[in-house]
C-alpha cells in the first residue's frame, strides 16, 4: 500500500454494508411500487411516485420483492447487532457523551466532523428498526394490532413506515458525505471495494 493511513475494515462490517446497501435499495424501490397502488398521501388520485423507481412492475410484484427482501434486510441487521454486541463494538464505535461534548465545546473542526459522522450513522439504526416495527404492523395488522394502535391508527402507521424512505435516504447520504469528510474517498473505498 502506498498510503500509510489506509483504513482497514473488518470483513463483517464490509458484508453488513454491502447487504444493507443492496437490501435497502430493493426494499425502498419495491416499497414505492406498493405505495403507488394507493398513495399514502392522497389515495388513488394522490401523490404518485415516478414509476421508474418502482421495483416489481405491478403491485403483486412489488409485494413479492418487499416480502422476500424483508428477511434479508432484517436478518442482516440482526446478525450485525449480535456481532457488535459480542465484539463490544457498541461500546466504542457509536455516538457517546464524548461526541456530544465535542459538538458543544470543541473548536477542532475534524473532531466535530467525526462526532457528526458518529451521530448520523448511529441515528440510522433506530430509523431502520422503526421501519421494521411499522412494517410488521402493516404486514400483520390483526395479529399485531397493538403496533397499529401505538401509532394511533392505520394512516399514521402508513405515513411513519413511508417516512423510512426519505429519512434513510437523507441519513445515508449524510453518512457517505461525512465519511468522506472524515476519512476521504479512501474510507469509502475501504468499506466497499478495496481488499485490505
Amino acid at each position: 500500500m502506498r498510503s500509510p493511513v489506509m483504513p482497514k475494515q473488518a470483513l463483517p462490517t464490509k458484508v453488513f454494508h454491502w447487504v444493507s446497501l443492496v437490501s435497502l435499495f430493493l426494499m425502498m424501490t419495491s416499497g414505492l411500487q406498493i405505495y403507488n397502488a394507493n398513495p399514502v398521501f392522497g389515495g388513488r388520485s394522490g401523490l404518485h411516485m415516478p414509476p421508474i423507481f418502482g421495483l416489481g412492475g405491478w403491485l403483486a410484484g412489488g409485494r413479492h420483492w418487499h416480502f422476500a427482501m424483508m428477511w434479508i434486510f432484517v436478518l442482516n441487521l440482526l446478525w450485525y447487532g449480535i456481532y457488535i454486541l459480542l465484539t463490544r463494538r457498541w461500546q466504542h464505535r457509536y455516538v457517546s457523551g464524548k461526541d456530544v461534548k465535542a459538538l458543544l465545546v470543541s473548536q477542532n473542526v475534524k473532531r466535530k466532523n467525526y462526532a457528526w459522522h458518529r451521530v448520523v450513522y448511529t441515528l440510522l439504526i433506530p430509523i431502520l428498526l422503526l421501519s421494521i416495527f411499522t412494517g410488521v404492523g402493516m404486514y400483520k395488522p390483526a395479529q399485531f394490532y397493538w403496533i397499529v394502535d401505538s401509532f394511533g391508527g392505520w394512516d399514521a402507521l402508513r405515513i411513519t413506515h413511508f417516512m423510512a424512505v426519505p429519512s434513510t435516504l437523507i441519513l445515508g447520504f449524510l453518512h457517505s458525505q461525512l465519511g468522506r469528510k472524515v476519512g476521504g474517498d479512501r474510507l469509502l473505498d475501504s468499506m466497499f471495494w478495496r481488499n485490505n
Partner: protein, 248 residues
C-alpha cells in the same frame, strides 16, 4: 474486483481541480446504472422471487396465526363509512335475493342449500373490525352476519377437508385455509355499518373477516365448497400472481 491505480503521490493538480473525484463519481454512476438495471430485470423476475419467497412466508404466516384468538374490535364510533372503497373485477351482478340460495357442499357430511331467511334465523354476529386492502388503504367497518364456523358445524366437514372454496355470482372465486375459515370473526355477512348490505358491497351475502386481506373477502358468495386439496385454480387474483395466504 479490479482496482483503479490511484495517484496518491503529491500532485499539485489535486488542489486545483476535483480530479480525485472521478473514481467515486464513476462508481456512483455505475451504482445508479446498476440500480436502474436491477429495477428493470427485477421487475421481470418478480414471479421467480415470489415463487421462492412465498412458500416460506406462508409457512411463517400460518405458524403465527392463532385460529381461536379473536382480534380486538373497535367501538361503533370508530367506524369510517367513507373509507371503504368499492372494488370488483367486473362490476356488480344482479341477484334476486328471494330466489338466492347459498350452497355448502364438497367434502361435508351434510350438504346445505340455504335461503336468506334460513341464514337470518341463525345467530347474528356483529363485529367492528379493520378491513385492509392489498392496495394499502384500510377502513373500520361494522359487519353483521353468520359465523362460518356455525354454518360448517351444520354442514359437518369430513375430517380430511382442509381448504374452502368460495364461488361468487359474478364469477369471482377464492380459496382459504380451513383454520382461517373457522376463526370466530370470519362471517358470511349480510349487514354493513348497521344497514342491510348494499349490492355493491356484496349483497345478499359476502365474506367478512379481520384475518385476511380484502381480495380474500368475496362478495356475492353463492357456493362454499370444502375440499382436501387445493386445485390448480386458487383464486382470481392469486392465479394472476397475488399471494394465496394473504393473512393479516
Amino acid at each position: 474486483m479490479t482496482q483503479e491505480p490511484e495517484q496518491k503521490s503529491p500532485n499539485t493538480e489535486l488542489e486545483i481541480d476535483d480530479g480525485t473525484d472521478t473514481i467515486p463519481r464513476r462508481r456512483f454512476l455505475n451504482l445508479a446504472g446498476a440500480g436502474l438495471l436491477t429495477i428493470g430485470f427485477g421487475s421481470l423476475a418478480e414471479g421467480v422471487v415470489g415463487g421462492i419467497s412465498e412458500p416460506l412466508n406462508q409457512q411463517v404466516e400460518s405458524l403465527i396465526f392463532q385460529p381461536q384468538q379473536p382480534i380486538p374490535e373497535f367501538p361503533i364510533t370508530a367506524i369510517e363509512p367513507d373509507k371503504l372503497i368499492v372494488n370488483s373485477f367486473r362490476g356488480t351482478p344482479t341477484i334476486n335475493s328471494d330466489a338466492y340460495r347459498l350452497i355448502i357442499d364438497g367434502e361435508v357430511n351434510n350438504p346445505l342449500s340455504l335461503s336468506m331467511s334460513d341464514l337470518q334465523k341463525l345467530p347474528l354476529t356483529s363485529m367492528v373490525i379493520r378491513h385492509v386492502c392489498v392496495e394499502g388503504w384500510a377502513a373500520i367497518v361494522q359487519w353483521g352476519g353468520v359465523r362460518l364456523r356455525d354454518l360448517l358445524a351444520i354442514a359437518k366437514p369430513l375430517p380430511q377437508s382442509k381448504y374452502v372454496y368460495f364461488y361468487s355470482a359474478d364469477g369471482y372465486y377464492e380459496s382459504w385455509d380451513l383454520d382461517s375459515v373457522l376463526h370466530p370473526q370470519t362471517l358470511m355477512a349480510y349487514q354493513k355499518n348497521g344497514q342491510p348490505l348494499a349490492p355493491e358491497n356484496g349483497a345478499p351475502l359476502r365474506l367478512a373477516s379481520p384475518v385476511k386481506l380484502g381480495y380474500k373477502l368475496s362478495k356475492w358468495v353463492t357456493r362454499i365448497q370444502l375440499t382436501s386439496e387445493l386445485g390448480e385454480k386458487r383464486g382470481y387474483w392469486e392465479d394472476l400472481g397475488y399471494e394465496w395466504y394473504a393473512g393479516l
